[in-house]
Amino acid sequence: MSGQRGHELQLEAITQRFHDFVAVRDINLRIGAGELVALLGPSGCGKSTLLRIISGFMRQTEGRVLFDGEPVDHLSPSRRGVGIVFQNYALFPHLSIRQNIAYGLEVQGVAKAKRDARVDEMLALVHMSEFAGRFPRQLSGGQQQRVALARCLAVDPKILLLDEPFGALDKNLRLDMQIEVKRLQREYGITTVLVTHDQEEALSMADRVAVMSRGRVEQIASPTDIYDRPATLFVNQFVGSTNVLDGTVSTADADGSPVVALAGGRRIRVASDAPLTAGSAVRVSIRPEHLHLHAEAPGADALPGAVQTALPLGALVVYDLALEGGAALKVSVPRQRGEALLPAGAQVWAAPQPSAGYRAFPA
């Protein structure tokens, strides 16, 4: 079919209002050809709305959708060339697997001989050739999803949209299908938008992750950057887990990096993307796995605390500490074989690993 390389998708200042409720607010995204971008966000943040706008089922209140630099807003869903895999797969129950996959080619008027060849190719691609004669209800969830993907790819869409495609699968199957979808996406080089509220899925599958909250994109970056350099406290808290401590910016220390006084009075050095003004309130975040425990004070930036509880989680132990001033701090440390857990009440020092540090966000 047409070129193997994907198409660029661009969203320009997209806003969607329902009456006076703003579901999607001024979204600008450029998704490169062949890229897989995950839209990650809590329920109701506008992910599906954005997908419906890209696919043409909903006309945005403001802004433009462009494929390869060409606006497509005037094109109906049937003309846009956007393939969608739905959460419930949406296979036609009255058609066999073969007929399902052939459907798009048929309605687009592809000649029978060519159509049959393409369907065979698709069936082989998703390893479903032997099920061609069955009906959707006779297939398992994973098989149905493969068929849904094949049906989509058969018409060679410009853009592939996956709306929570793995939500209905159990854990093991989900991993298999994630790998499978990733393989197909790579093989076809098709530009893909994956909607999910599962952060592991987003981080493991996507080239870039766009974290959304209340109709806005909070940050779009590579999975590692999203995790290591969250742009906002929301992203920090939504992706992975983190400790949040309240503090006030005090004067910068000798080398110029900002210092924050925590509620208990202790002062720590922090990193921040936003400029911090002295005296303003901030929230300081650090991930449990970026902290170490020490018996003695290891130097600056360490926080003393008393062990409240220890949660052994196999390879890891999570300690819940009570800091001075009453704040709670979780520290997750790798557990050595046979090592005893720290008892409740033990006095310890928590300090960031050399490569990590505290991040401050304006409160």
Partner: protein, 283 residues
Amino acid sequence: MSEQTLVMPAPPLPRRAAPSFEAWSLRCVFGVLAALALVFLVAPTLVILLTSFTATESLRFPPEGFSLRWYAALLDADQMQAAAWNSLVVALWTTVLCVLLGTPAAIAIARSKSPWVRACDVLFMSPLLLPALAFGFAALIFIHRLGLRPDLPLLVLGHVIVCTPFVLRTTIAALTQLEPSLLDASRSLGASEWTTFRRVTLPLIARGIGAGAFLAFMASFDNVPVSLFLADERTEVLPIHLWQQIENNLDVRTAAASGLIVLLTLTLMVIAERTAGLTRQMR
């Protein structure tokens, strides 16, 4: 959270599940209803079937002897045959028109959220709730006012009004079960709205429409109240003809005709259940 549910002690199991009062009373009500249905629906049907096989000249139960003479006599009953033919023609026209009108109406109603459309839904359903006798009488006065005389098209029109609700209801039910993402999937694969309707919507609601058509056909075929007012001598329909025969001369042929109708209906019902899952569509 899940840990908590894990350590919750299991509630002690009762030694033997004693039937609760609710379950018991439910069973009683079901039993009584089933018994009533048997006694008042099935038993009379059996009585009329058995009577129709009588060898004697009179309508009497229990029948004396056994013969098919009254069924044979139906072959010569010209008037009754004409009435049956009329009923069939009216019922078929009614069914076709009900489907042609009811299906698009159902689609519009199922799609729209507008209060006006809701109001139309209630309006179209009202013939099921209003007494058909009042409607028939009113329709007769109305067409007289218009300077028309009862004839076959007007009779069909009357039947269409009281029978369309059946198609409407079953089709709306089928449409509400239709997964909207199927239509989106079809359109995103390049199908126009019309193609989507023809290739996805229609096949998936066909059983609902079929069930409604069957009900509309049966409702028209044995409709009395509307036909009473809107049928003239030339368009006399079977139920009214049978009623007059029974009233005038207790003709045993009416029993044979009834028997025939019962058997035909049963056959149709079995076919409808097998092909369209009739009872499933009515839920």
